[in-house]
């Protein structure tokens, strides 16, 4: 049995409304705010109710057959390359401080090009390193200095001494 795409979306948002509504109770209130006409919980409370009602209405309304099944919506998608690109972005976030902007950006771009099918070594290296250095230089010219990376300081190749 496959679920309708719209119904699945509505179900997700109904769950979100319930979870969001549950956590509204965790918002601390200042002394005396409990009885105030508007406090930090007022809007979140209203939003949880509204989203709950809207998604519930979507769930009980007649099924929109044009929306198709969930399986149909997710069929034939090339997930592998997207997952690798997402992993590369996470890697970029983890290394931009340690390896520094030039190296981590070059690696990220190179990895991205390779994932999407570029196999010519010269294009891979020249494009990624060239664009990175050009962008680094442009930032420097604009007064934004990005350090080459903590890694180089640990190795003693760079120093913080003025």
């Amino acid at each position: 049995m496959s679920i309708n795409r719209d119904k699945f979306g509505a179900l997700l948002f109904l769950c979100l409304a319930l979870i969001y509504g549950f956590y509204v109770g965790d918002i601390p209130l200042l002394f005396g705010d409990e009885d105030a006409p508007f406090n930090a919980r007022t809007l979140p409370n209203a939003l949880a109710w509204l989203l709950g009602v809207v998604s519930f209405v979507q769930l009980i309304l007649p099924t929109n057959r044009e929306a198709g099944s969930l399986e149909h919506a997710f069929r034939g998608l090339k997930w592998k390359r997207v997952v690798i690109l997402a992993a590369l972005m996470v890697f970029y976030g983890l290394t931009i401080r340690q390896l520094g902007f030039p190296i981590s950006t070059s690696l990220f771009l190179m990895g991205g090009f390779y994932t999407l099918g570029e196999r010519r070594p010269l294009v891979l290296i020249l494009t990624s390193v060239g664009v990175t250095l050009a962008f680094w230089g442009l930032l420097y010219a604009m007064g934004i200095y990005l350090t080459p990376g903590d890694f180089f300081y640990y190795l003693g190749w760079m120093s913080n001494d003025a």
Binding site: G9, I27, P28, A73, L85, V90, G112, L116
Partner: protein, 512 residues
């Protein structure tokens, strides 16, 4: 007013601003041509660059990108029947058949002249309408602002496509929910931060815009690979044909441009409606008023069918600046991104902008004329060369878009956590896009959510906790009634069509 216009003119003609208009138009044209990447992505990618500039220059650059993206979208619509932007879908109806007849050059010229005329006429309307509306809105109170924001949010949902109304409402609410994350500005208490210091200041607008548009659109193009249109485009560019128009053709275009400019501008002013709706309305109007003989030409390369949507979509772009500049309420996803950028420059759009920072207000309006001239004089002859940039293969283009999105956000905060949050937000956005949820209402809800809460809180405080402020002032009441009508109209329409369908499918007794 004259003083303001001159002040705006002197700001707009500064060399840096002229350069930014040209750069914006070029960059916008290029990004707009890429199927899948729209004006919101184009503008979002420009925001980090604009941080180094003063607000006028930044906004001028973004406005240039906006027109450029719409113009670029028209080019790919005409040449390869692949609209880069939703607002140029109607352009393909008659633009592509013209290109197939070997008149691609003529079609591009008609699109460029129509865009120029539509944009220029609408900018004149804006020149008159914006200051007038700004003066009126100076008398607005918190309750009125709250009502206006409700109107903006409901209108976005109401103008969503058929069967999309509830989804648009859902996404608007989701956007407002995201805006509640962080420290409550009035009480100073943390909401939904779950103890994370990275969430104390809330979710950055730029992060949200970049990940839900630029990142997710780029990743979606990988996830759902589309047909490679480069060879098709190259072929179309080789057989452009003449760009000259005959006197007869110009005569046919002039009244169309006049009508479509007015229609486009006023459609653009309406919150929620925008270039897409304006272009379809103008196309429909032209077809309806055409003679029976002319009607037959629509869809087969009609000049009227091409000029109308092209004029209207550019006029709507100028019109959408009216609520942004005068009321501080973005009427579309694109102007929501611009508003977010303005707020991050420290400029609060709204009626006070007209009084306190007239140079920003007027220079943007004046730059619209300059932007339209740049599009006509520079972009049109350069289209064959700009299109060559599209030959950049996707395996190089997508990583660049990802890189510029990530680094654009990182350069503002220098917080690596933002990069990880972007990956998560892009993942969620992709999931929602696959479930057919629109992203623009979410962005609008996010921007307006904080302001709406602030105004509601203030209005309640002024009226001693009573909700009577909703009907005490006629203006508040009228705005709220319009909001209810906006919301009710599509719901009633849906209900009626459902009842009609049900009636049609229930077999009568005689058939059993």
């Amino acid at each position: 007013m004259l003083e303001g216009i001159f002040s705006g003119l002197s700001t707009a003609v500064m060399p840096i601003n002229l350069l930014m208009v040209a750069v914006g138009c070029f960059a916008g044209t290029f990004i707009g041509m890429l199927p899948g990447l729209g004006p919101i992505t184009a503008i979002a990618l420009m925001i980090p660059i604009t941080y180094g500039f003063d607000p006028s220059t930044g906004l001028i650059l973004m406005a240039g990108v906006y027109y450029g993206a719409i113009f670029g979208g028209s080019t790919s619509s005409i040449l390869i029947n692949a609209p880069g932007v939703a607002g140029t879908v109607a352009t393909a109806f008659d633009g592509y058949p013209m290109a197939q007849k070997g008149q691609a050059g003529k079609a591009l010229a008609i699109a460029a002249y129509s865009s120029f005329s539509g944009g220029t006429i609408a900018a004149i309307f804006l020149l008159v309408a914006a200051p007038a509306l700004a003066s009126v809105s100076l008398s607005f109170q918190s309750g009125d602002y709250f009502a206006l924001m409700v109107l903006g949010l409901t209108a976005v949902s109401a103008f969503a496509g058929k069967g999309q109304v509830l989804k648009a409402i859902t996404m608007t609410l989701f956007g407002i929910m995201l805006s509640t994350i962080g420290t409550d500005p009035a009480a100073g208490v943390a909401r939904f931060t779950f103890g994370s210091m990275d969430l104390v200041d809330g979710i950055s607008f730029l992060l949200l815009a970049m990940s839900t548009f630029a990142l997710s659109e780029a990743l979606l193009s990988i996830l759902r690979p589309t047909k490679d249109t480069r060879s098709e485009e190259e072929k179309a560019l080789k057989s452009l044909g003449s760009m000259k128009l005959s006197k007869e053709e110009v005569k046919t275009m002039v009244p169309v441009i006049g009508r479509s400019s007015v229609l486009g501008f006023f459609t653009g002013v309406l919150p929620g409606a925008g270039a897409t709706i304006a272009s379809f309305l103008a196309y429909g109007m032209e077809r309806n008023i055409a003679s029976a003989k002319e009607k037959l030409g629509f869809g087969k390369g009609s000049i009227r069918g091409l000029a109308a949507p092209e004029t209207a979509n550019n006029a709507a772009c100028s019109g959408s600046f009216v609520p942004l500049l005068t009321l501080g309420i973005p009427g579309s996803g694109t102007t929501a991104v611009m508003m977010g950028a303005l707020i991050s420059y420290g400029v609060q759009p709204g009626p006070r902008l007209f009084v306190e920072q007239p140079d920003v207000f007027w220079s943007v309006i004046i730059s619209m004329y300059i932007g339209n001239i740049v599009l006509l004089v520079l972009n049109l002859p350069l289209i064959p060369y700009i299109s060559r940039l599209l030959a950049l293969p996707q395996q190089l283009l997508v990583p660049f878009v990802l890189f510029f999105s990530l680094v654009g956000v990182y350069l503002v905060t220098f917080n690596t956590m933002d990069i990880h949050m972007m990956v998560i937000a892009a993942g969620i956005a992709i999931g929602l896009r696959l479930l057919n949820y629109p992203m623009a209402p979410m962005l609008l809800g996010f921007i307006l959510g904080k302001m709406m809460e602030e105004n509601l809180r203030r209005a309640l405080a002024i009226s001693d906790g009573s909700i009577s402020f909703l009907w005490e002032r006629p203006i508040t009441l009228v705005i709220l009634i319009i909001s209810i009508l906006f919301l009710a109209a599509p719901l009633i329409g849906n209900l009626r069509s459902w009842l009609a369908n049900r009636k049609a499918t229930v077999p009568n007794d005689g058939e059993i």
